[in-house]
């Protein structure tokens, strides 16, 4: 599924540049922005390591649906919501530290599985339009989530803690302090090397997830997902239950996103109950695309390259904007522009490449038929 037609250039350098246009663009941008920002190397390293620990799990959760040919799963916000519900219950029950985080994951898991099943069922009815469908599904479930949290919790669903409930007695507050689990995973096992703090515990979990994804691609189910991703008709002919395989890929992605959101929020230390999950899909997808992934192909290196480049841009853009134009706000606008812009460009590039590819295939088929006809008449 690699975008063949555009990577057929004979010169390997040109081929490399075409294949990695987005990351290269960002590297060039950062070459100018980093010195302009004036941040020290230590500070940037600290920030990047923190953000790698915070975001990697969420971004990795996008890989499996890409493998199954379902594109970039904007529906990871469903998993993020499940994770947040887990955290709300954990806080209400007064469970703290690592057991609290694991308990939140445990509570979030069945919710994520159910939401993943729902998403899978719906996406199977919208084959070829999975990305936009998953995005709209995210908005729809967000409505149900908000209704549940705002009116159901404290009235129908028992929540007792005054710290969580609104003064009227039901509904969860806008912002919840996660002090009881703040950086619990980060501080579980961390080392400091020349002023740079490295949360080894979180990186061990991320490494385990990478190994899981690597192993998963080699399992029967992983191979089935690849086959479905390449061609659904061929996969179905080969006896693979296409719909079930696609649903499973979305369930796995949603559950991983649930865990990813919990890891993300324990690092941040606060939940914005009604909008912490809003941007999760967009930012994770933008990071993955900046790392050189496409709608049809995403790998683990894309995750880490993408998070590094995307978040480095996030960190330096406001200061660079201030130095360059005298206004930090310009840098903030730039951040938003970059996230949405890069998704738009990548999707447009993908559509264009597919079109070129199809055109090439059509021309080749036409030429082959013509040659066959000429052979027939000539003989």
């Amino acid at each position: 599924m690699k975008d063949q037609s555009l990577t057929r250039a004979k010169n390997p350098l040109v081929r490399f540049v075409i294949s990695n246009a987005v990351p290269i663009l960002f590297v060039i941008l950062l070459i100018f922005a980093v010195p302009l920002s004036g941040f020290s190397t230590d500070y940037l390293l600290n920030e990047i390591i923190t953000r790698l620990g915070r975001n990697s799990f969420l971004v990795i959760s996008l890989l499996i649906p890409v493998m199954a040919g379902m594109g970039l799963n904007f529906g990871i916000v469903l998993g993020a919501m499940a994770g947040q519900i887990g955290l709300i219950f954990m806080l209400d029950w007064g469970v703290v530290g690592i057991p609290g985080i694991v308990l939140a994951m445990l509570i979030g898991t069945p919710i994520a599985i159910l939401l993943g099943m729902l998403a899978g069922m719906i996406l199977n009815r919208a084959k070829g339009r999975e990305m936009v469908t998953s995005m709209i599904l995210g908005f729809f479930i967000n409505g149900i989530y908000q209704l549940t949290i705002l009116y159901g919790m404290g009235s129908v669903i028992p929540i007792a803690s005054d710290k969580l409930l609104l003064p009227r007695g039901y509904g969860v507050r806008n912002a919840i302090d996660l002090i009881s689990i703040r950086k619990a995973l980060d501080n579980m096992w961390s080392i400091e090397i020349s002023g740079v703090s490295i949360p080894l515990g979180v990186f061990a979990i991320i490494a385990a997830l990478c190994i899981f994804v690597f192993w998963f691609t080699r399992t029967k189910l992983g191979q089935d997902m690849r086959a479905v991703g390449q061609d659904m008709q061929v996969a179905a002919t080969a006896g693979i239950n296409v719909d079930r395989t696609r649903t499973l890929s979305i369930i796995i992605s949603t559950v991983l996103a649930c865990y990813g959101q919990i890891i993300f929020l324990q690092n941040i230390g606060t939940i914005n109950t009604y909008n912490s999950h809003d941007q999760v899909g967009t930012f994770a997808i933008a990071a993955l695309l900046i790392g050189g992934a496409s709608v049809a192909k995403a790998t683990i290196p894309n995750v880490f390259i993408g998070i590094t480049l995307f978040h480095l841009t996030f960190i330096v853009a406001p200061r660079a904007g201030k130095e360059l134009l005298g206004q930090a706000q310009i840098g903030e606008f730039f951040r938003v522009f970059v996230s949405y812009g890069i998704i738009a460009i990548s999707l447009a590039l993908y559509a264009w490449r597919r079109q070129v590819e199809k055109e090439t295939e059509r021309r080749q088929a036409k030429a082959a038929i013509k040659a066959a006809v000429e052979d027939g008449t000539g003989g």
């Binding site: 469970v95 703290v96 530290g97 308990l103 898991t109």
Partner: protein, 134 residues
Amino acid sequence: MGQEADRMRRNIIRVALVVVLVALGFGLYVLGKEHTIFVENKDIVVDGVEYKSANTINVIVDDIELEDVKKGKRKVAYSAGPWHRIKAVEVFPDGTTREIERKFTLSPNDTAVINLVALFEVEEGWLTIEQAER
């Protein structure tokens, strides 16, 4: 028949998995539940005998240093899990000290009130357990 047995086996595995997850959840709840532990340096009557608070006592609850709890004062520590340990060092006016370390267990909804004077003087009665308000 084989299919039926397979389905049955699959259902048993699923139910077992759910049971294991619920048990794990309960275990995590017990292990991670945060308790409020009040430590007070106040007069107390145990079995009809009155014990008077006299000196400042330095207290550590599960690695949480509460430092000096002065005569007549109360301090609070928040600590997770069912098993706890309290270490108290009483400082006498002449500069000499005496030290005691005790262990206690709390259920998930318990709040503990520890009287430091009784902690030094009696074997039982130094710990009062109250049900936490929810």
